[in-house]
Symmetry: C2
């Protein structure tokens, strides 16, 4: 029944059970697995590996595209299999082990992992485990709902295990555009000149002799849990729409805007959904993850084309977007994350990048990753790839967290993922700070006045005014810069029971 | 006598005195001036402008390539002419006004300024003041010792003042390669595929009708003050040479290495000079400023080709490098800083980027700009353009400053210009920390063990161990993270009179 998916007869003999495939792992191996934000991950072999580890302990370095679904990261880390992990994760169980120091987590820009593998600054990859829609007549791999780092993992790996997942529609074939940059010192320009550019092959070209095992699976991707838009996210979308209209009025762009990128999560998804009822049309996306909003915008006739490296939708959209992929295919491309997130292409296309901040400081520095400056949440993901090279780098966040106990606008962020040089616009439900061309003191007044929640605004101004009395390009009171975070760590809240939040003596 | 330098006779009537040209400025104008790290700045018109301002006050927004020589930034800021300044400066007088809040300084990645001007997110440019070697038969501008942002300033400006500087050798003509990226949404790849690639024109193409004034000058560029190598910088160069030899042994590169970039200043210059006595040869540079070391390496037969956006040498090299430019010309290109620093090209070529840090923290975050986190030194310059996109991003610093009162390795940097995601290697005279593929806890042990001065090592370990007891991906004690900087601000030294530097209670 799967032979239309395994079109090279010489490989039929490689079909085996997940348990048999799991015997191919060795202690200390560097393993590259497919999977990007719950899409296109290998689903059976990792579970079999975890089961094997119960009686035959082993540890590996696990590389992926981004996060995995189907609890794979939890199952593998609970089994003690993961010694090192890169470049991204979102699993609560793995996160706990990372923050305990049990798992070494290397938090990387998503465009850089395979660049470092290719130049042998990381690796080598011993084994790749790749989910496939099919294996072609030539033994090449047709990916599924994500490309992520799968192409380079497969090309660079010593041996490859392939999971052919029959639940994915055969119509996924043709969706992908596999392009690997040529090797230095003679690298050619990457010829992507629009979101629509097709520059590569529809399958991953490998030597089929490297295929060590093929496992047939029938299991869906985990769907995304996306909160519906609320008043705050609608307000954020409204402020952004106003900004883009302002840009159009100034003649800086037309109503088709410029290619858009949006980070994962509820706020970014809601922002894009907000475009359904906007005057913008003929939009394109040059993004990383394509979420529900991509398909809503297609259906609303607002979006002309979307390029990404994975499709990650909620349960409500799964049947329509994934099983019904055929109807969206003419408007979609999935690329390797190295290309979807490549500085060269992002800068060339002039991408408008919208990503979520954990918190921002008054000068526009952004923390995307570390709770209280120390504990990893997920990872920087592609936000740095996009923000650093975008036409306009926008960060969105609600102004409050934990019922108001935490302000997302703080005097100083205790971890910097994106610094003031790379942050153009900050948006909360309270308002929008357009920081382009502003010096730090001007940025502070704009961020506090427009983005901070009114209940924290006075305290931020107190801090800022006291800092300014000491002078400097970027005034700060270093002895008080983290007072809010220290208080939050000790009491659960950034607020003082009574009185001002910070002293105002210089 | 200057008519061979002003080859379009229709423009002869535009020749005037600096004082006459200075009347073209209006209060509130946005002015783009040539000049990049003391090379190729306009020298007479800015002084005449400052003189005019004494009786006829006016304020402008001043954009340049990078820093200016001939005390122009001091003279203009003393005259109260500069209201806003971007993207870089090094002048002590201007710096004081910036830190006082009198001048708004926008500290930008050097590749981004003209990108924002072209997309009209900054600007428009009312007036450009450009130093030229010559004006061609077509009325096009031949730059001098830097290109910087001059090409885009001239192309985008409403009107242009040109200073033809007869002190610069006519042989500079032909050295420059002027290429402006095409406009979005139809931008082509930038066709630079090696340091040698010539992709543009040797002069800046403008409509000569925009030329409002031509001033003839005869004044040299300010020369660079570069400290000679000392034991520390020699040790840093030695560690780097060992690293590169290691890369060669691992088969990751050959003895020609990959194109090198080096930041300005004594340490970076000394590091490159160190290559004179190394086994490496056939080197190329794809850099920003070409300093003395570039010419030393040419003369030693080590360097095959250098691409930069300015030539800034010390007095000892001025006659040979600048006046004797003819003999180096076949091995040199000067490009717009947008191209010399372009993410697309840096990533494509796989540049090895060596830049100077003010201080680094134990996790590898780098402060390049802000003394004690608040007071601007110079600006981020091109360090972010290069570090973020390099094959290998290296930061160098001496482990101590101010006679040992300040450690350049600190628990947490109070200003982040380059975060851990972008920093591959840190080098001090004590040793080298190769951070590639390491998680933050591993980075900390490596940075403290290899790079910190022995007299601060124990205190850093105390801090780190206490932080680790609290857990986290990137352990910190937020209430103590800046204790060293606070002490330095209050006492002039990071050291405690007696006992440990930080508490060790979690």
């Amino acid at each position: 029944m799967y032979r239309d998916r395994l079109r090279m007869p010489a490989l039929w003999s490689k079909v085996m059970s997940p348990e048999q495939a799991a015997t191919l792992f060795r202690d200390g191996m560097v393993v590259g697995m497919s999977g990007f934000t719950r899409a296109g991950d290998a689903k059976e072999v990792p579970v079999a590996l975890a089961e094997r580890a119960a009686t035959d302990p082993l540890k590996i370095t696990l590389l992926t595209g981004a996060s995995l679904g189907n609890d794979i990261d939890r199952i593998l880390s609970d089994a003690g299999v993961i010694a090192r992990r890169m470049p991204f994760q979102v699993d609560p169980g793995l996160r706990r082990r990372i923050n305990n120091g049990e798992v070494m987590f290397i938090d990387q820009h998503l465009s850089e992992t395979v660049e470092m593998l290719r130049s042998r600054q990381l690796g080598p990859i011993d084994l790749a485990v790749i989910e496939a829609t099919a294996i072609t007549e030539e033994g090449h791999i047709v990916p599924t709902t994500s490309v992520g780092n799968s192409a380079s993992f497969a090309i660079l790996a010593e041996r490859i295990i392939i999971e052919i997942n029959l639940n994915h529609p055969a119509a996924l074939e043709g969706l992908h555009d596999i392009y690997i940059p040529t090797y230095r010192p003679h690298r050619d320009p990457i010829p992507v000149v629009s979101a629509r550019s097709r520059i590569g092959m529809t399958a991953i070209p490998i030597d089929p002799a490297k295929i060590a095992a093929i496992v047939i699976t029938q299991k869906n991707d985990s769907t995304a849990r996306i909160d519906p838009p609320d008043d705050d996210t609608r307000a954020i979308a409204g402020h952004l729409s106003d900004l883009f209209l302002h840009e159009v009025k100034k003649g800086r762009m037309g109503l088709t805007l410029q290619p858009m990128q949006s980070g994962i999560g509820a706020i970014a998804n809601a922002v894009l959904t907000g475009f359904v009822d906007s005057p913008f049309h003929g939009l394109t996306m040059y993004s990383e993850v394509l979420q529900d909003s991509t398909f809503e915008l297609f259906d609303a006739g607002k979006l002309d084309f979307a390029s990404g490296c994975s499709i990650t939708v909620s349960g409500a959209w799964y049947d329509r977007a994934i099983l019904g992929i055929e109807s969206y295919k003419p408007q979609l491309i999935l690329r390797p994350q190295e290309i979807s997130n490549h500085p060269e292409v992002i800068r060339r296309l002039g991408v408008i990048a919208i990503n979520t901040a954990l918190e921002c400081d008054i000068y526009g520095n952004v923390n995307s990753t570390h709770v209280n400056g120390t504990h990893m949440m997920n990872g920087i993901g592609g936000s740095g790839d996009f923000a650093r090279n975008a036409h306009m780098a926008i960060f969105v966040t609600k102004s409050l967290a934990k019922g108001g106990a935490i302000s997302s606008i703080v005097p100083m962020v205790p971890h910097v993922d994106h610094n003031e040089h790379d942050v153009d616009v900050i948006v909360t439900e309270c308002g929008l700070a357009d920081l382009r061309g502003l010096a730090p003191r001007e940025r502070a007044e704009c961020v506090i006045g427009n983005c901070a929640h009114p209940s924290y605004r006075e305290a931020l101004l107190d801090y800022y005014r006291a800092a300014v009395r000491r002078g400097g390009q970027t005034p700060h009171l270093l002895e008080e810069a983290f007072a809010w975070h220290v208080r939050a760590r000790e009491t659960g809240s950034m607020r003082l029971p009574i009185g001002g939040l910070v002293s105002t003596t210089p």
